[in-house]
Amino acid sequence: MSVTAFLTDSTLCIGCKACEVACKEWNGVGDDPLDWTGFSYDNTGALGASTWRHVKFVEQAPSPGVGGNAGAQASWTFSSDVCKHCEEAGCLEACPTGSIVRTEFGGVFIQPDVCNGCGYCVTACPFGVVERNPKDGRAFKCTFCYDRQKAGLTPACAKACPTESIKFGEIDDIRQQANSRLEELHRRGVEDAAIYDPGESSVRGTHAMFIVRGDPRTYNLPPAPEVPTTYMKKAWISSAIASGMLLGGTLLAFLSDGRHKNPRARRR
């Protein structure tokens, strides 16, 4: 039983969506409504209640060398997105039922039998991962294959990935693999390769890291994700001031309103 992590290497991803299919099959996740988005070959768009793995089809302006294409063709990279399983998870902090827990593997897990569908975690996720299932109102996201991990198995997506773009393992091991892979890529001339693991931000690192090319924003990975608990102190101070003002103001108003000043009136 060790703390585990994903490393999703977009330089190896071929966009086959085996991870999406494997995830749906193993976890019994429903289908996504099919709508043609016009965004490359990505007709799913984003992670959601019925999309726990999502392959992004990142089509960029032609730039020689990227993707090994001819200079005139748009470059194409793929990246399989997933719940980041933040070290400091907004959804976990926000959950009022205690449904969202941290597992012994370091993942963030929503217990579906406890979730009451309040939807507060949806507004607390800085990565827009958690979503309410419109059919039963409860929140769903990647479980980090908690059931499989408990049985000593690799999560379904990592197991199904044919190019080992999705790597899974003990977190320190995965960090090491990410660094050595990055070194290798840089050595081979892929100088824009970078690791996305926002350890400097208030989410304090993740259990799902990514190797991307260039600016992570191109992959809709936020440069500075914020766990919303950072705003709590400000907000509660404001709430305390508001309460104080309401109490003081009301006292002042009624004490200075001398007309009804008759303390015996309430005990008739």
């Binding site: 988005t37 089509e59 507060y120 507004t123 827009g128 260039g214 809709n220 919303p228 404001s238 001031i241």
Partner: protein, 350 residues
Amino acid sequence: MSNPQVTSNANTAASRERRLDEIRRGAERQQQFEVIGKRPMGAPFPQASPQNGYYQIPLLKEPPWTWEIPLYFFVGGAAGAAAVIGAIADFTGGDRELVRHARWIAAAGSVLSPALLISDLGRPERFLAMLRVFKPQSPMSVGVWTLVGFSTGAVAAAFAGHLRDRYGASLPLRVLENAGQAASLALGLPFSNYTGVLIGATTIPVWNRNASTLPLHFGASGLGAAVGILELMGHGKSRALRALGLGAAIFETLEGAHLESRGSAVLDPLKHGRSGWLTRAGGALAGPVSAGLRTASYFGSGKRSRSLQRWASRCSIIGSLVTRIGWIYAGHMSARDWRLPLERHDLEQA
């Protein structure tokens, strides 16, 4: 689900027809019809880039709440402030009728609030799931426990007070009434404004960037609504209420001025589009309009003055409701703005 294939085909056929109608209506209205991502033949393909993010698909999810939630914010704010008014009026020996009415407003809000929340959750048992734990780090958990304590206190105070008025005082009734009132006062204070914390401590940019003023804003809005309701219930002559109403309206005016004076792309949903109209209309009604009418009512005399005051009360109530709807709506607009989460504001500040 006897034959899912057939039903799903029928559904898609119907929805396709609806979609065609929708496209036709849209094209008639605007002379062109644009759908995000869909480009006419020959147009350049959409591309991902650091500037456009991932095809401008919003990163954040919109708040999933239904219409009950802004209404709950309004009801809870007014009920909390009404409980405080009732308790203070009682402690300072105020008008009995005013105390009674304030307690009834608080009690009505106490019954309505959980009903609205349960309606949003779908099933009553789901409300109970929030009472398994108390999590200080979750504003939703703190809020629910505040609501439960407040509701119990407010209903007990109103009920015991009613029995006492009707059948005369007795010790248990007095204990129940005073304990209920004390609880509804202590918890009514945070209950009237905690919804500002609730939405302030989220990832929705327009909400969290206002985390330090939202509770004050919502608190003043709730007080304005409570005063307005009490005044319309026939307490227009209470000088204390009039002063509170004017105070709340002036505070809302200052809050509006503060919002308008700040220039930031994050605040766009409060200034543009339908959500901007809503928050501005709500702010104007509860703020300057109400403050102006209330000030004028001090100078007018007799019937005219009371009429001005009644209009001010209505403006405060409607303004408070529209403010909550506007802020929730602005949250949706803010989540849809794909640019905000990709900004490096924090890195730049550091």
